[in-house]
């Protein structure tokens, strides 16, 4: 039999501390003696708090009395011998190698979750957002853009209608109709550009119409934007950045919920590369279905690229943080599309 352990006994009705000896009597009996305490209990009738480092453990008796005893190997061995099993979490927490494995597991989970889980979850959620919500969200964005960037278009109404009607006549590559509406705006600050809002509003700048060599090139850009609408890229980005924001805010706690938005915005740039590729693919198929060449979009991309670089074409420039990454790669893919 092992030597009794020094412990403290509290009866649960007063705060009186009584120094006691805790006798561990195998196979499974606890005996407390000292300062007016004489108590014998089978281990099965006692609730034992789990070990947590060097924190004391408590033996809680059915009547609310508590015995507080320093954590020590002798106690662990006795409890193990009596068939008292600690939970798996406790065993994991007590080993450094498990802690290190946890760090690695966490890194893998975060990277995997970010790379695969996040886009998947965002796509699922974006798919299920009601159309009315999508519309009101898009209208909010449009209003903000009108205030910040857009000015009324200077294009003659006939020209605008010709483009919009030609686009309306084009067949989408897949089954079903993707609701859309083409708007024209002048945007001197942004230059030649087109953008799609999740509800199907596609805004084309006057500058882009002027840059295009033909209406077919403008239609090619519109098919690309319709690809973004069809694939719900805008919504997915919105959902992704919301999820990243929530997770970062939760992880960093209240330290810097302000700073949490910044990385979220930066991290998104990587996604647009895949989204652009998907939209290009959609555009290529739509152009082919309508008897047009995917190279039209490639021509237009080249012109856009040149216009945003101020006419210079430099090879090998890093496009990582630009909103239209790896343009050359995309142009090559479109030219190769059969």
């Amino acid at each position: 039999m092992t030597a009794p352990l020094e412990a403290a006994y509290f009866d649960g009705r007063s705060s009186a501390r009584r120094a006691v000896k805790l006798h561990l009597e195998p196979p499974g009996t606890l005996r407390l003696t000292g300062e007016g305490v004489e108590r014998i209990e089978p281990l099965s009738q006692v609730e034992i708090t789990e070990p947590m480092g060097t924190a004391p453990r408590r033996l809680v008796f059915a009547d609310g009395a508590v015995c507080e005893v320093p954590s020590q190997p002798g106690l662990d061995a006795f409890l193990a011998g009596a068939g008292h099993a600690e939970s798996a979490v406790v065993r994991i927490q007590s080993r450094w190698r498990w802690a290190i494995a946890s760090v690695l597991a966490l890194v893998l989970l975060v990277l995997g979750g970010y790379r695969y889980g996040l886009p998947w979850a965002a796509a699922q959620i974006a798919e299920r957002l009601p159309q009315s919500l999508v519309a009101s969200l898009s209208n909010q964005s449009l209003r903000a853009l009108e205030q910040l960037l857009f000015e009324p278009t200077a294009l003659p109404v006939e020209r605008r209608e010709a483009i919009a009607q030609a686009f309306a006549r084009m067949r989408p590559p897949d089954e079903g109709h993707v609701a859309h509406e083409v708007l024209f705006r002048s945007a001197p600050a942004m230059g030649a550009n087109a953008l799609a809002l999740p509800s199907g509003i596609i805004v084309v700048t006057d500058e882009l119409v002027e840059l295009a060599g033909s209406d077919a090139e403008i239609l090619a850009v519109l098919t690309h934007e319709l690809g973004h609408v069809h694939e719900r890229h805008g919504l997915r980005l919105m959902v992704e950045s919301s999820i990243v924001g929530i997770v970062l805010a939760w992880y960093l706690g209240d330290v810097s919920s302000i700073a949490a938005g910044v990385p979220a915005a930066l991290l998104q740039a990587r996604y647009s590369r895949e989204h652009e590729r998907a939209a290009d693919d959609y555009a290529a198929r739509m152009l082919q279905v309508n008897g047009m060449a995917p190279a039209l979009l490639a021509d237009m991309l080249e012109k856009l690229d040149a216009s945003h670089r101020g006419g210079k074409m430099k090879e090998g420039e890093s496009d990582y943080l630009s909103s239209h990454p790896a343009t050359r790669e995309r142009i090559r893919a479109l030219r190769g599309a059969r």
């Binding site: 947590m52 760090v103 989970l109």
Partner: protein, 348 residues
Amino acid sequence: MEPLPASAPFPRAEFEFTGSGGEYFRIWIVNLVLTVVTLGVYSAWAKVRRLQYFYRNTRVADASFDYHGNPVAILKGRIVAVVLLFAYNFALEFRPVLALIVAIPVALALPWILRQSLRFRLHYSSWRGLRFSFRGDLAGAYGVFMKWPLLVLLSLTLLGPMWHQRLKRYQHNNGFFGDTRFSISAGVGAFYRIYAVVAGIMLAPLIGAAVLAMQLRDDAVSFGLGMSMVAMVLFPVTIIGFLVLVRPYLVARIQNLVWNTTALGPHGFESRVSARMLAWIGATNLVLIVLTLGLYMPFAAVRLARYRVACMSLLPGTGLDEFVVAQKANVDAFGEELGEFLDIDIAL
């Protein structure tokens, strides 16, 4: 036991924190991984283990504290809170009118929620085998959590320190250990003195900007340039200044004021937190957390807890064996989790 003479001095009992960063790191990382793997479900168990680690490692007068929160109850509260929060944010984004339908009942229920939170925390804390409890009434909760915030708003924050005093009075005068009541005697003036210093520190950069503006006012161009530079510098400086200097000052002074004027029956407390030490610990913790991508967080938490706990003493007025309890009560976790998720921290 022999009866002691009435004037017998009872030795002061120092609070001490016995945890270590390494131990807590292992609990923290396992909590984190399991929370991620279970998509947040484990977070209720994680919270219980985290609090248990800190409570059980806090000792005074030869006994440590314990936390008895039930993870399943906490999980239920969390689910309700998450649903409400998502409903609110979602509605706010798309249908502001619907957001009001969520927000108004929650706002009206908030004092009740906060009282639940206070009750939960104390009821599930124990020392020497006795539970703490909170017995503040609902009227008091609506006073400090609804009437006073409105008064502070109407007074353009001038009544803020008074609200803080009323809040602490509600919290501490309704706290019990066993059947023994806590009481607090801190007056309104003491709170105003602390906040006057805070206001001074906060206003200093503004005054500096005003002085600069006076000197630059003759030259329109450099005035405009100067002002935009001041604005660019002022904003981050104010935020960092608040986090690094003002907050530690406020936390230290309030903790000292509150605990130095709090009694538990015949017993008193002493708190000696230094704002400077708190600022140093906070700033170095922040740097180390950033450098380690967050892995230092558990070490930082232990370091801060060790300092704050070590600054407390219990000044017994009689023996510490005389607390008793006659009645017991159960409280549910609903309120606490709701309070936590709505980002309300009444720890100060």
